[in-house]
Symmetry: C2
């Protein structure tokens, strides 16, 4: 069987790989996105990345692409992408299908990461699973009955924009929703909360590390301080974990999944984030909901988008 080519289009990097159906990568390449140059230049670099992993045989089975959303997965159109300037209603699927003359499938990167974790990672064997990726934003995807669930127009699975704190002051997200999970618990929210506490005079190892410039404090520094036992940093992660836990409870009530999988750079903080998430779920939801629904870290790291795109192309 011919190999597949898969692409993960991100705001910083374009990754591409030539894969076998079992997930083995025969070749891979990473190019800088240089998103500020606009859609035409980025599309040209996506084509270049694909050419670099094209097999000598000349034949591939299909092309699978993970792209930022909101994205119309049925038509393969990027509706807009906050970290790709100028990307509005870009018909990515048709563009690549025309350029390479192969079956091409495009879907939302977070939805595909869910699919990747389900097929090759932490979610293997489970019927219903919800995946969250927590980094600069919060994305996610929903697997129901073993299949990616995207909703009627392909706009579902946007776990990061469910609202958990509609009354929180100054919490209206770019999405328009007050108190959405992304505003309350993504990396920037964690950094903001730590900076605000430092400005208010809280004691923390973060103060000397900031060396007078609080803008140096990002979620990564807060995570490191929390892992070292810094009380302020742990409190900040506990608060983020609380909101994430409340979001998971809402999802449990709606979907009653068998598993949550959480990835993304902020989730790399580990226990300082997962402990308060689990504690919140256990203390605020009936046992019958959470007992059968573990909350696990993602397993695939940076390859999750590529492997999700592989599953999309193989199963389409």
């Amino acid at each position: 069987m011919s190999p597949f080519i898969v692409v993960d289009l991100g705001g910083t990097q374009i990754r591409a790989a030539r894969c076998r159906a079992d997930g083995h990568m025969e070749a891979r390449v990473t190019l800088p996105t240089q998103a500020s140059e606009g859609p035409e230049a980025v599309l040209s670099r996506i084509r270049e990345a694909i050419r670099q992993v094209w097999p000598a045989s000349g034949q591939i089975a299909a092309l699978g692409v993970a792209a930022p959303g909101p994205l119309d997965a049925k038509r393969g159109v990027v509706i807009f992408a906050p970290n790709l300037p100028g990307w509005e209603n870009v018909p990515l699927r048709d563009h690549l299908a025309d350029a390479f003359g192969v079956p091409t499938f495009v879907s939302n990167d977070a939805n595909l990461a869910a699919l990747g974790e389900h097929r090759y990672g932490a979610g293997q064997g489970v019927a219903d699973m919800v995946y969250l990726t927590i980094s600069t934003g919060i994305g996610g995807g929903i697997i129901l009955n073993g299949k990616l669930f995207e909703g009627g127009q392909g706009l579902g699975g946007e776990v990061g924009h469910i609202s958990v704190a509609a009354d929180a002051q100054g919490s209206t997200c770019i999405c328009g929703n007050p108190g959405c999970l992304e505003m309350m618990a993504a990396g920037p929210a964690i950094a903001r909360a730590a900076r605000a506490a430092l400005e208010a005079g809280a004691a923390s190892v973060l103060r000397e590390r900031a060396a007078g410039d609080l803008t140096r404090i990002t979620a990564r520094e807060v995570a490191e301080a929390a892992q070292e036992g810094d009380e302020l940093a742990r409190r900040v992660f506990a608060r983020a974990g609380f909101y994430i836990g409340v979001g998971l409870i809402s999802i449990m009530y709606l979907l009653n999944p068998a598993l949550f999988v959480i990835g993304g750079s902020v989730a790399n903080a580990g226990d300082v984030l997962f402990d308060p998430i689990r504690e919140t779920v256990r203390s605020h939801a009936p046992a019958i909901y959470w007992q059968a629904t573990p909350i696990r870290p993602a397993a695939l790291g940076d390859d999750v988008g590529l492997l999700g795109a592989l599953a999309l192309a193989m199963e389409a």
Copy 2:
């Protein structure tokens, strides 16, 4: 084809009917639940209601039952029911199947109401629909691809307990979740908000109607005052509508349904509730989400549980 018998078990009334597959009711009966007498007495009255609508022919195709939840739909067991004292892990399905010797199917009343509205009411013809019933509590159900979606353990579709305001003071629900939709927007929340405003001195026609006893103010009185243009009452409904709208946005992001249907006694208030719900969704969510997702009043009134139980029994 033999008729079906369907039952809707509520905290106040037990309804039963003999139905044809098209929804036509050949006979119906309503008995008082007298829930305080406990499970044995209530089970006996359910059997009595079924006997009263049993056909002279002696034959029925199946028995369908809508019961309060949380409920394990796979095993037909009522796990607990806040308005049925003593109902804990009651094997309702097996009890009735043993008593009548016919195929028996039991599911959550709110989930079945969703199914009823989808098959016979406001949701006919739509693939993905979310139903909410707003009265003393908030329940609901989810239809995906034309089928009732209940999640892996049959515990999904609990729309009323998603959290929309985790930071709201004193908002922790009996479910354990802070700021859940039911705590913020069901009938008692509406009554509480009106009473609190009256206690704080707000002007309103509700004050004279309370005649010195604010406990007389229920959601129904607030709805009537709002319909008459009373400003306090309209503000209270606007706030409830805001939280419901925020909840619908969360559901849109997760499930991207084609339709919302809202029923229940509080929804009978009409525009004073539906206007702020729609206004919230339109002002806080991207148009691509809400443009294709109308929010409609339920169509079946008090028969919704019976007709949902009919669909359950027919399709099982």
